[in-house]
Amino acid sequence: MIVGGFLLLEAAPGDAVDAYVASLGGDAGLVRELRERWGLDRSAPTRFLLYLAGLATGDLGRSLAFDRPVLAIVLERLPITLALAGSATLLAFALGSGLGILAGARPGGPLDRLLSAAALLLNAMPSFWLGLLLALLFAVRLRWLPLAGIETIGAGYSGLARLFDIARHLVLPVLTLGLVYAALYLRLMRAGMVEAWRSDFVRAARAKGIPRRRLLLRHVARNALLPVVTMLGLQSATLVGGSVVVESVFAVPGIGRLAAEAVTQRDFPLLLGILIVSALLVLLVNLLVDLLYARIDPRVELGARAR
């Protein structure tokens, strides 16, 4: 317990600050590398220092392709990606841990086999391909949902109607991104539960005659949830990469698609700005996960009064 609390204290704020500084360092390395490429046909090496100076005041430079400040473009597109990635994470977490509990309730049973096989398949699917299949089914064949974009152009919706329209456009991208991660969380949850069933504390709880249902939820599942929550934080970085692909498939104008555009248009200041902003986001998410962790795991206490 003491170790747990201590580790969290050691890990959470210290790591965040260190990684913050270090991530700027890492990005600076990239800046240097990019500048070497540029330096041949573009301005002097002082650009790098200027960029760092600008960064300190929150200035990410100007986009070459849009001819506007990078920060403004990124902030404009960010909410869409946050909505997409956030809903996908919620879906993945709910679906993954829920089905994981079902699968892990009776390891080796028919339901477990079915769910595990499905998760294995889903886990091996390229997200853009899954997206295309879903689009083919729900947008083209069944015509339930719009194929691409973020809202119906020229529909002139406002207020709630507009919000609903946007939500309808986000269903397929969220489903695509969410399903891929749901498979991961399901496998993790199940594996954790298999481990927990074997542990001494579950055996002890069983011996005390705690009903199976209560045992399953309060003891086994709760313990298996911890690695899943940890994974939530670890996956936040790959989630940004995932949204690059999924936003491109569904033509969602978020920062992921912006990154792909920046690459094809060789807009390095923009790409760099996106890298920095997403690294900051990842740090923020990890901080949130650390806080969440403290709520779930009774062993960890924030500001630990550990003895």
Binding site: V140, L275, A279
Partner: protein, 277 residues
């Protein structure tokens, strides 16, 4: 070693997956012999459906190129890039992990902060940046994937070294007066490697996926058939001719599934003490 193979072979799914993977690799390596059609050449009428013309069993694409030939050559690209990237990431990561674990102190701190930094930057964005700077050929794709994948092995090796450091056989080597270099390379490294091997399998799987995603976004050599690019090309006629996107996707699915199962099998075989689910 035989022990390891025996344990691996006991896992039927992993064994089957290993055979599938070997078959894929063989087919990819002998693509010209197996199916001599040119993957880039126009060999037939455009948009021929699969299972219609025996000359093009899987049909042709919008330009009349043979889909089977393109799939086989795509397998070659995909597998080479993925294995090369996983190997590069494992070697680089192990080197960093070994250095950090052995040196301790300032160097350890520095190396681990760099590792942190790389883990905060989304790997796929880093790969995008890499490819956009160095151009979209296979070699830069390998570098791009390795640049974001080396952090895993680095952490693993460092952690292993830390846990091995106090063990009796390491202490024995020190007492026996072995030079530091010998201890590092002959005693510590081989014992720290098993988890890296198991991890390498998962990084092959993710490398296959990253390569396909990059080529799907049009960031691959346009003159070489690749699965991701085939799916992207098929999008233009997705509604009328969906198989053009579906077939390469199935190839990707099969490959990643096989790699994952082999990886799981390796993991179990390398760590037999861990409970089997």
């Amino acid at each position: 070693m035989t022990d390891l193979l025996l344990r691996f072979a006991r896992d039927r799914a992993a064994l089957l997956a290993a055979c599938v993977l070997a078959g894929l690799a063989l087919a990819a390596a002998s693509a010209q012999l197996l199916w001599p059609l040119d993957p880039e050449g126009v060999g037939g009428p455009p948009l021929l459906r699969p299972l219609v013309d025996p000359a093009h069993p899987l049909g042709t694409d919008r330009l009349g190129r043979d889909v089977l030939a393109r799939l086989l050559h795509g397998a070659r690209l995909s597998l080479t890039v993925a294995f090369a990237a996983a190997l590069a990431a494992s070697v680089l990561g192990s080197a960093v992990g070994l250095a950090a674990g052995l040196a301790g102190g300032r160097l350890d701190e520095l190396l681990m902060r760099i590792t942190d930094a790389f883990q905060t930057v989304p790997g796929f964005l880093l790969a995008l940046a890499f490819v956009s700077v160095f151009g979209p050929d296979a070699r830069s794709v390998v570098l791009a994937i390795a640049a974001s994948a080396w952090t895993g092995p680095a952490r693993l090796v460092r952690a292993e070294i830390a846990s091995l450091a106090g063990r009796d056989f390491v202490l024995a080597a020190i007492v026996a007066g072995l030079p530091r270099r010998e201890i590092a390379l002959r005693v510590l490294l081989p014992n720290a490697l098993p988890p890296v091997v198991a991890y390498a399998a998962t990084s092959v799987a993710s490398a296959v996926l990253i390569e396909s995603a990059l080529s799907f976004l049009g960031l691959a050599d346009p003159n070489r058939a690749s699965w991701g690019a085939m799916i992207a090309e098929g999008r233009a006629v997705l509604v009328s001719e969906p198989w053009l996107s579906i077939l390469p996707g199935l190839a990707l699915l099969l490959t990643v599934l096989a790699v994952n199962l082999v990886g799981e099998g390796l993991n179990e075989a390398l760590a037999p003490r861990r409970a089997r689910p």
